[in-house]
């Protein structure tokens, strides 16, 4: 197990197979809770924790569970983990818990959790599964926070509004008012803004990927020409 391998897992989770932008899994929480950076970050971190714990648990029991019953077992494990995370958030971040509401228990239905369990954790060791859980969660959080920032800036001209929900009283200082006397562009906050914003983010990622690919194609050609000359 080389270092390279872990880097590959990380890159896959965060960029190449990003759940939000490439696999398009877990769109319901992605679209619904990305109306501000703080909400997005809260749900993203909770999902990341769930992914890490469920991946580790499933990887640990993968040799004990018969393949025929693996899916019900995945569901039980994920449900337990989500319930634990929900209770923890209720205890330590009650304000954020109220804002995110139903979307915390709904992490259990996020397809990317069971997807990683089936596609990765059931076939790999504990360390690799843990890295995969973190990487996938990181990619999901990244997409959520980017979309949240886009919608919050356009919608109400602020960044990190209500940061005290996540970081306690000191978080109030984090809130940035980017534009003074901003009237607010309600569309960005409302559900259509989530769809349009996500479309723009996917387009942006495709452009970046295409540019990277073109650079890779150009390089060998240049090298060949230099060699010929």
């Amino acid at each position: 197990m080389s270092e390279n391998h872990y880097r590959q897992i990380l890159k896959n989770g965060v960029w190449t197979q990003n759940t939000g932008l490439v696999a398009l899994l877990g769109l319901c929480p992605l679209l619904a809770t990305s109306n501000s950076v703080v909400n997005a970050l809260g749900l993203g971190l909770a999902t990341m924790l769930v992914l890490l714990l469920s991946n580790v648990a499933i990887s640990l029991i993968r040799n004990l569970v018969r393949p025929e019953v693996r899916i019900p077992v995945f569901v039980m494990v994920i449900a337990c983990v989500v319930t634990a995370v929900e209770l923890a958030m209720h205890a330590f971040l009650p304000a954020l818990y109220t804002v995110l509401g139903i979307f915390i228990p709904l992490i259990v239905t996020n397809c990317c959790v069971i997807g990683r369990a089936e596609a990765f954790a059931f076939k790999h060791g504990v360390a690799k599964s843990a890295v995969d859980g973190i990487a996938t969660g990181l990619g999901f959080t990244l997409a959520l926070v980017l979309l949240g920032a886009l919608r919050e800036i356009l919608g109400q001209g602020t960044l990190f509004a209500q940061a005290e929900l996540l970081f306690g009283e000191g978080g109030k200082r984090l809130t940035l008012h980017l534009i003074d006397d901003y009237r607010g562009f309600l569309l960005a906050i409302l559900p259509p803004g989530a769809f349009i914003g996500l479309g723009c983010l996917i387009a942006l990622k495709n452009v970046l990927d295409a540019r990277a690919r073109r650079r890779l194609e150009v390089k060998p050609a240049v090298a060949l020409r230099e060699a010929g000359a």
Partner: protein, 345 residues
């Protein structure tokens, strides 16, 4: 030996996209003139701003998409979209609202979906709805209809000041200028428990609908009938829309005339007539079969009434048109005319 070939005798002449679009623009002139007369220079300024922005956005998008710019600009479709949107905006709407609306219409609703002929939704209505749900306060502050040359009317300079700097002349407060539209007034006062007959006595209302508004609607009716006479618009869509609206509003009016406004009020209010002849008839986004067009129009009419009477917004033509735009391909699928000779069933 060479025979001179004549064209077929039944071919009347070329119809190009540009010609159709120009005729739509001509047909809008009477209604737009009435709007300018009753609501002042603001309408004209909105039209001008929207046209300039639409042409610039269209040219920019064509350049990005590597399409011939001059040919596509000359088909006037961007101007039609701009005008349809501009007459739907409040006369003193700030300039940036017009810009946002036109950009949503041309860039998002038209070109991101593939340009003229490919857009599933009516671009002008997308622009309007984006503004309506984003800036509800600005979009509901219409001027009280009073006309140019009257005491309260704003001069051209004052109108430009209001639109571009957000400044109203000192002699007037915003309350003296703007008020609820007739549909809005009907809605709020019905909510307060007043009867339709009492509400209709308020000065906002004229002979059949809102004073001023009814003249603009009649102007659009005249232009629309000309469009149908010249076969630019299919008669089935306005016929279906207006009769759909008339039938459902008559039913509710007969059930309880104190709580539901009469059908003629609904027909001449808001965007019903304008929508019937100019918005719903968009050949790209509407149904294309004869029976389908009737159904499509009736759907828009019924949905408009439902949104007006039971929904969250005073007028519903824009939402109704967009909803029926989604349904248009399905309607077309089930209303295809039988090919001559095909078996029934």
């Amino acid at each position: 030996m060479h025979f001179k070939t004549l064209t077929s005798p039944h071919v009347l002449g070329e119809t190009s996209v540009g010609q159709v679009m120009r005729r739509v623009l001509y047909a809008m002139v009477p209604g737009a003139t009435a709007l300018i007369w009753f609501f002042g220079w603001g309408v004209l300024v909105n039209l001008a701003v929207a046209t300039v922005v639409a042409l610039m956005a269209e040219a920019a998008m064509l350049a990005v998409r590597n399409k011939p710019i001059a040919t596509h600009l000359a088909d006037y479709s961007a101007v039609v979209t701009a005008w349809l949107l501009a007459v739907a905006l409040p006369p003193l709407a700030p300039w940036w609202m017009t810009v946002i609306g036109v950009l949503s219409a041309i860039v998002v609703a038209k070109h991101l979906y593939g340009g003229l002929g490919y857009n599933p939704f009516n671009p002008a209505m997308i622009g309007y709805v984006v503004l309506l749900i984003s800036f509800p306060r600005e979009m509901s502050s219409w001027l009280i209809p009073q006309g140019i040359g009257q005491a309260h009317a704003l001069s051209l300079i004052e109108t430009l000041q209001a639109i571009f700097n957000g400044l109203l002349p000192d002699r007037l407060a915003a309350d003296a200028l703007t008020g609820a539209t007739p549909l809005d007034a009907l809605r709020t006062q019905l909510g307060l428990g007043l009867a339709v007959a009492d509400i209709r006595n308020s000065p906002v209302f004229g002979i059949v609908a809102g004073s001023g508004w009814e003249w603009a609607a009649s102007g659009f009716l005249a232009g629309g009938l000309w469009l149908i006479y010249t076969r630019v618009a299919a008669w089935q869509i306005p016929a279906g829309l207006l009769s759909g609206l008339a039938v459902i509003s008559t039913i509710f009016y007969l059930i309880d005339p104190q709580r539901y406004a009469p059908p003629w009020f609904h027909l001449w209010s808001g965007a019903a007539i304008f929508g019937a002849f100019f918005i719903a008839t968009d050949p790209v986004t509407a149904s294309t079969t004869p029976r389908g067009r009737l159904l499509y129009g009736a759907g828009v009419g019924v949905l408009t009434y439902i949104i007006r009477s039971f929904g969250g917004y005073p007028d519903g033509v824009a939402f109704a048109v967009l909803l029926m735009n989604i349904a248009a391909p399905t309607i077309d699928l089930y209303t295809q005319p039988k090919v001559f000779g095909a078996r029934r069933g």
